[in-house]
Structures are given as structure tokens and as C-alpha cells.
């Protein structure tokens, strides 16, 4: 669960939207990737689908697929860097 600290709360209250960057996300910045993928999915599906029937269903499906694909790539990179490379014999 995300716990907003006292300092984060003060920062949020003093925040001027559109002028100051939103700093209260702290170490949860990666959650901002989900709305990013959603926005891209909306624009992509609006132009690439022949029919707009069940538009939002397709948008959500595309966003989930993209997120899972990126997550899988990140996991593969993690395993490669932290498990495969150390296991390689040097020399």
C-alpha cells in the first residue's frame, strides 16, 4: 500500500499544478507508466481500428498487452543482468 509521508503531504498541498513538477510520487514513479500506456492505446486504437465498436474494451486490452510485454522484457533483462551474466565463467 502506498503510504504518503507527512513531508509528501506538505509538498502536495504546496504544489502549483502545471508550474511545479508533481513530486509526491516518490519511489512510486513507475506507476505513471500505466496512464502513459493508456493514453498511447487510446490514440493508437482511434486510428488503427476499422470499426470503433467496443472501443474502450479494445483500448484496455491493448494497454494490458503492452504493459505485460514491457514487464516481461524488464523481467528478462533483470534475469539476464543479475543471474545469467554472474553465472558466466570469465577466462
Amino acid at each position: 500500500m502506498m503510504i504518503i509521508s507527512h513531508l509528501d503531504l506538505v509538498r502536495t498541498l504546496a504544489w502549483i499544478p502545471f508550474l511545479q513538477p508533481a513530486g509526491a510520487m516518490g519511489s512510486y514513479w513507475w506507476l505513471l507508466m500505466f496512464p502513459l500506456v493508456l493514453g498511447i492505446s487510446i490514440a493508437y486504437r482511434a486510428t488503427h481500428d476499422h470499426s470503433l465498436d467496443r472501443f474502450w474494451h479494445r483500448v484496455i486490452l491493448f494497454a494490458v498487452k503492452s504493459t505485460v510485454a514491457m514487464g516481461s522484457l524488464a523481467l528478462a533483462m533483470y534475469l539476464f543482468v543479475y543471474w545469467v551474466i554472474p553465472a558466466l565463467r570469465v577466462g
Binding site: I16, P17, F18, L19, Q20, P21, A22, G23, M25, W29, L32, P35, L36, G39, I40, S41, I42, A43, Y44, R45, A46, T47, H50, L52, F55
Partner: protein, 160 residues
């Protein structure tokens, strides 16, 4: 494919493309694909305004981040307006204060930067949001350029 050859015969809608750059999604609306245009507008403007909300207007900076700005400029005049706001409000010191920052070259005078400028990850994500909005708008503009003008059936379907 018959559909592809139909699209090849279709003339290019230059006015729709220009309108799509001025206001994302308006190109599709102009050629009769109202619903499609509104969805594209929601996606592009949502991304761009989301980027400004996360990173502040400093996310769009023509002078300090020119390569990112080339991508962001695809979103249209809104990118130039954000850059103008960055220059006029933050970099001029009208909002926040200007403080000296460590110079990249010790022989030069320390540059003045706004206290609202940040080097945190929020700024990087804001830049990324705005850049992807611009790049996706290029896709939307190309779609408006090539998409056949909506038939009456398309327009009725679009109103639903």
C-alpha cells in the same frame, strides 16, 4: 487488399492534416470521422496535459532539450505555448526565484535557474509524456491525411 487499394486512390487531405496538427483529432473530425477524432483528441491531449501536470511546464524546453522538443512539437501549438510559458514564467523568474546553479564549465559564470526547475524523475516522465503525445499526434495526422472521407453510414455510426 481491396480496402488498401481504395485508400491509395483516395486524395490526400492536406487541410485535415494541418488542422490535426493545430488541434489533435480535428483532422478526423473535419473529414467526417467525428468519434474517431474525439478519441484521438482525448488520447493526445490527455498525454500532453498529463505530462505538464507531472513535470510542470519545464517539461517542454526548446532551448535546453531541443531533441525532445522536436518530438513534442508534433502535438501542435500547445507545445509552443508550453515552451513560451516556461520561458516567460519560470526562466524569467516571474514565478519562483532564480538561483545560481553549479556551472558545467568552472571558468564560466554560474547560470541562473528557477527554483521550480527540477532534476527529479517527475520531470523526466513529464518530458516523456509530452514527447509521446507529439509522436502519437504525427500518427493521428498521417491517418487524417490518408483516411477516406466518411460516408453517410460512417457518420451515422459515429453519432451513436
Amino acid at each position: 487488399m481491396a480496402h488498401d487499394s481504395d485508400q491509395l486512390d483516395e486524395p490526400l487531405h492536406w487541410r485535415a492534416a494541418v488542422l490535426g496538427w493545430i488541434c489533435p483529432g480535428m483532422g478526423q473530425i473535419m473529414i467526417g470521422h467525428r468519434r474517431r477524432g474525439i478519441f484521438a483528441m482525448i488520447g493526445i491531449l490527455g498525454l500532453f496535459l498529463g505530462g505538464l501536470l507531472i513535470g510542470g511546464v519545464d517539461s517542454v524546453d526548446r532551448r535546453d532539450d531541443p531533441l525532445w522538443f522536436y518530438a513534442q512539437a508534433g502535438a501542435g501549438p500547445i507545445a509552443f505555448a508550453a515552451d513560451w510559458a516556461n520561458l516567460g514564467l519560470l526562466k524569467s523568474g516571474k514565478v519562483g526565484e532564480l538561483v545560481e546553479s553549479p556551472p558545467s564549465n568552472p571558468r564560466e559564470a554560474p547560470p541562473l535557474v528557477s527554483t521550480f526547475k527540477t532534476v527529479t524523475v517527475a520531470n523526466e516522465i513529464g518530458i516523456l509524456y509530452c514527447a509521446l503525445a507529439g509522436l502519437m499526434n504525427v500518427v493521428v495526422i498521417l491517418d487524417a491525411l490518408k483516411r477516406p472521407i466518411a460516408t453517410r453510414i460512417d457518420q451515422e455510426r459515429s453519432r451513436r
